[in-house]
């Protein structure tokens, strides 16, 4: 049975289990397929797994820069005495000629050197995410295409995840602009977002003045960096999200995740839909369309959040 929802804006999804359960990535794929009608431009997943001892970095870059980037990271690894554990080309998108690579490096203290180096390739290379327990996989195309390419539904040992289907509004359709977004401001943070942040440029300028880097032009990245900035300043996720609602203009609903918590956030007027629901199998699901919740049988305790609402889910 397939579920289809109509042709409006983006769709967001999340699966947050109360205890460890199997098949989370499959559930996320099913939820996105159910909400495909909300966005056919790109699809993306932020999947959290058990904490790894080493840092992983996922980098996107133009295919012509592949060797340079690899060499750069390799050289940094050698120079800084970081053991490069794995270099794995996951995909080549022949249309865009962009490539995403996943690197594992250690130790943590030199990660900033690598991020600096990637930042120097602005326009040609960008950071997708880094951290010890997060992996972001995103690409252009329908959910079924992205799933086929990366075999997402077969990924195992996923603790929880968030996902997104995109209808592009402000920026071009590329894997770089696909959601979820993370940031170099802190590891293991991911954001999926439906809506617009009207004053994102102002917020972005403030953050840039503070020294934060941006690897894209979307307003979603602003959310990720803004929240990361607050979390770095000892805010709780709840407080950071509540303050964001106060400073941000425009219609938005987003989900932000860190390894210990997931926040489901709506703007002051609740202008973008999304509902959380609970499944008796022992997990919470969040979806823009009810079709998404139907797809994973999350029928209990539905909560669409009040305007300006923040719902926090704690990961045990």
């Amino acid at each position: 049975m397939k579920y289809w929802g109509a042709n409006k804006m983006c769709g967001i999804s999340a699966i947050i289990p109360e205890r460890k359960i199997e098949g989370i990535s499959k559930k996320l794929v099913d939820m996105l397929i159910a909400q495909q009608i909300r966005g056919a431009d790109s699809a993306g997943f932020a999947l959290y797994h058990e904490k790894n001892d080493n840092y992983g970095i996922r980098v996107g870059h133009h295919v012509r820069e592949e060797e340079k980037i690899k060499e750069l990271i390799r050289s940094l690894c050698v120079e800084r005495k970081i053991n490069e554990i794995k270099i794995d080309n996951l995909t080549t998108n022949s249309l865009e000629k962009y490539i995403t690579c996943f690197y594992r490096v250690e130790p943590e203290k030199n990660i900033s050197e690598i991020i600096n180096a990637i930042d120097n390739y602005r326009g040609e290379a960008w950071l997708i995410n880094y951290g010890t327990s997060l992996d972001i996989i995103k690409d252009v195309g329908l959910v079924s295409d992205v799933n086929k390419k990366y075999s997402i539904d077969k990924l195992e040992d996923i603790l929880f995840g968030i996902a997104h289907v995109r209808t592009a509004t402000h920026t071009e359709v590329t894997s770089r602009n696909a959601h979820p977004f993370s940031t170099s401001a802190m590891p293991d943070i991911a954001v999926v977002h439906n809506g617009e942040i009207s004053n994102s440029n102002k917020l972005k300028n403030n953050l840039q003045n503070k020294g934060y880097r941006f690897f894209g032009d979307t307003d979603t990245e602003v959310i990720a960096v803004w929240i990361a900035d607050k979390l770095n300043s000892e805010y709780s996720l709840q407080d950071a999200c509540t303050e964001f609602i106060e400073v941000a203009d425009g219609p938005f609903t987003f989900i932000v995740s860190i390894p210990t918590e997931v926040a489901f956030v709506k703007d002051r007027y609740a202008t973008r839909p999304a509902t959380a629901g609970y499944c008796e199998e022992g997990y919470w699901a969040i979806a823009t369309d009810l079709a998404g919740l139907e797809a994973v049988n999350a029928k209990k305790n539905r909560d669409s959040l009040q305007p300006g609402g923040v719902k926090i889910f704690n990961l045990k």
Binding site: M1, K2, Y3, W4, G5, A6, N7, A34, Q36, I37, A40, L142, Y269, A270, P273, T275, D289, L290, A291, L293, E294, R302, S304, Q306, P307
Partner: protein, 289 residues
């Protein structure tokens, strides 16, 4: 002669699409789909549907526009031949029952997606589940009962339909409403009655959100109490008068099987065995009124 009850299982449409071999050309897939539709239901899809689906989704089967199109053509066709329609496996499809013009009783077992029964001109709808956004949007007549929750904008631009929501409602219920009525049993939250120009909204629950009726130019919102931030911009509150009590009573009578009303006095009604004293209620109306 109309048949009494007709069941439509929307799961059959998904199965029918799944049964077609997808390794062939789009054109061949689509013509086989049409053959099967003709054999099973007696209608075909126009070729534009294939072109649109092919260009947008690179697939002509199991894509939203095709499934919704088949479902709605089937529902419209069946509605002309039946008195009661029972829809199974609605799968939270968008736009289900949109544009129905026949006076038919439709019961849906499950959740419906956004824009359910939008622009309908007649019919009695009952949803045994939840509804997505903009339930009965732009409906000019008809009656709808939602057993579960209704998401944002239920009764959007309602032009004469009567809606009863038994569960929770989302923000902006009855936005830009022109006529008709909306009754909610649990709550009436943020922005409900936004830009309202006519009709009535009644909340029998205790949960009242803020900013009700901002920018309204007509119509009335009846609420059990007025909180600090209840009134939206451009609205005033006042006590109910005899005319209002009559209006409320008339609104309740649209749903005789769901709202059993017993009149104790002009202001006190027992609704489903629960006493409601409407003398304490307040109405929200446009400021210039």
């Amino acid at each position: 002669m109309k048949e009494k009850i007709t069941k439509i299982n929307l799961g059959d449409i998904f199965s029918l699409c799944d049964s077609i071999d997808k390794d062939r050309k789009y054109k061949d897939q689509f013509s086989e789909l049409n053959k099967k539709l003709l054999k099973k239901y007696g209608f075909e899809l126009p070729v534009q549907v294939m072109k649109y689906s092919r260009d947008k989704y690179h697939e002509v089967l199991n894509v939203p526009h095709v499934i919704i199109r088949i479902a709605n053509i089937l529902i419209k066709k069946t509605a002309k031949e039946s008195e009661v329609l029972q829809i199974e496996n609605p799968s939270a499809l968008y736009n289900l029952c949109a544009g129905l013009e026949d006076d038919v009783a439709v019961s849906v077992n499950g959740d419906v997606g956004s824009f359910f029964a939008s622009t309908v001109k007649a019919g009695n709808y009952r949803i045994y589940g939840n509804a997505g956004r903009s339930l009965l949007a732009n409906a000019t007549a008809g009656r709808c009962i939602v057993e579960g929750d209704a998401d944002e904008g239920a009764g959007y631009c309602n032009q004469g339909a009567n809606i009863l929501i038994k569960g929770n409602t989302g923000p902006r219920t009855g936005i830009q409403m022109r006529a008709g009525s909306i009754i909610t049993l649990e709550c009436l939250v943020f922005g409900s009655g936004l830009y309202m120009a006519g009709g009535n909204i009644l909340c029998l629950g205790e949960k009242i959100g803020k900013d009700l009726g901002p920018g309204m130019v007509g119509g009335t919102i009846y609420v059990p109490y007025i909180g600090k931030e209840t009134l939206g911009i451009g609205t005033i509150e006042s006590k109910l008068n005899s005319e209002d009590y009559n209006t409320i009573e008339n609104m309740l009578q649209f749903f005789p099987t769901d709202l059993r009303v017993e009149k104790i006095s002009e202001t006190i009604l027992v609704i489903n065995e629960k006493e409601h004293d409407f003398s304490g209620y307040r109405k929200i109306i446009a400021e210039k009124d």
